[in-house]
Symmetry: C2
Subunit: 196 residues, 2 copies
């Protein structure tokens, strides 16, 4: 069974988190949400993250350095939401983990403002997208694209809540194959002519 | 500021709950999540609902009879998820509240298996949709449609996770107008040619 770590912080866009986690679970991926505290490392007393629109989501684990070795997981996902993405992208342990996952040929997904972590982790110039609101911070250092989902080797980036379904289905396809993507997609009942 | 009550239970489809709540908050709608306990009425000790794919969401209030008078709210939303929708649709206080909201010309939204509440609340025959998996339970008593979103006076029904964005944006339009719908939709960055 493939497995994924999905980061969560105060200010995370709760649709981007929830759609990704839920869609991966539907595909049989073992998901673990990891709460990144605002103050860097350290044990956090609260048991939940408050999303960008106020939904409080309980996390599975607190993110701590060394707790999520790439050898034990198949994917790492960094959702958006301006404040949540700021917490994640400025966390040096998160930056290291992104580099470690990619170095070990594991998938890293970033969506919306989560793509800022590609910059803070100093990833090499490559194709990438993000929420339009942070494009100006990224387009000097990456080959910026406005495609809904951009795959660059094992780095998968996407734009916002409206592209989270195709982002999550792309992760399913990379982790579990095209047949599983189709199997997961059908009972979600997308409107006719949905372009993904 | 318009206001909405969004029901939540163990087994609720967390994407349907989260997309609706978040999108309404983006439109400036005051949202309250109300936890419907599995055993009917009564105070529940746990502070969260466990969604259909394992995401634990903390609720704002426990649903109790008389706590959400239609005079104080503009919309009531019943999400899907088979087990969550069963809890809600078989709760007699929920059934009464659905009738009361519609009788007072307030919006009632039902999505996915949440549409079973239209049957248990004994609503009159009218156009309606649902998740395909519960169509057979509904199509004798309603004018069943396979449109992504069906508006029948103040009853708005929809199909599944894949139709939750157009469902939520329809609620925004009905509560806040077409301009607000467009304003909320733009920064979500749907892929080009998305049909809603």
């Amino acid at each position: 069974m493939p497995s994924a770590v999905i980061l969560l912080a105060d200010g995370t866009e709760e649709m981007e988190f929830t759609i990704t986690y839920d869609t991966l679970v539907r595909a049989g991926v073992a998901c673990c949400s990891a709460f990144v505290p605002a103050g860097g490392n350290g044990s956090e007393k609260q048991e939940y993250a408050t999303g960008s629109r106020g939904i409080r989501i309980m996390y599975d684990k607190v993110f701590e350095e060394g707790q999520f070795p790439p050898a034990s997981y198949d994917a790492l996902v960094i959702p958006g939401g301006a404040k949540g993405a700021e917490i994640m992208s400025t966390n040096t342990a998160v930056q290291s983990l992104v580099r470690d996952f990619l170095a070990q040929d594991k998938i890293v997904g970033m969506i919306c403002a989560g793509s800022l972590t590609a910059l803070s982790a100093k990833l090499a110039r490559q194709p990438l997208t993000s929420h339009p609101s942070v494009k100006a911070q990224l387009d000097n250092d990456f080959d910026y694209s406005e495609a809904p989902v951009v795959i660059s080797n094992k780095l998968v980036t996407s734009r916002g809540p409206g592209t989270t379904f195709p982002f999550a289905l792309t992760l399913v396809e990379l982790l579990c194959g095209a047949d599983k993507r189709a199997e997961v997609r059908a009972p979600m009942v997308f409107p006719p002519d949905t372009p993904f």
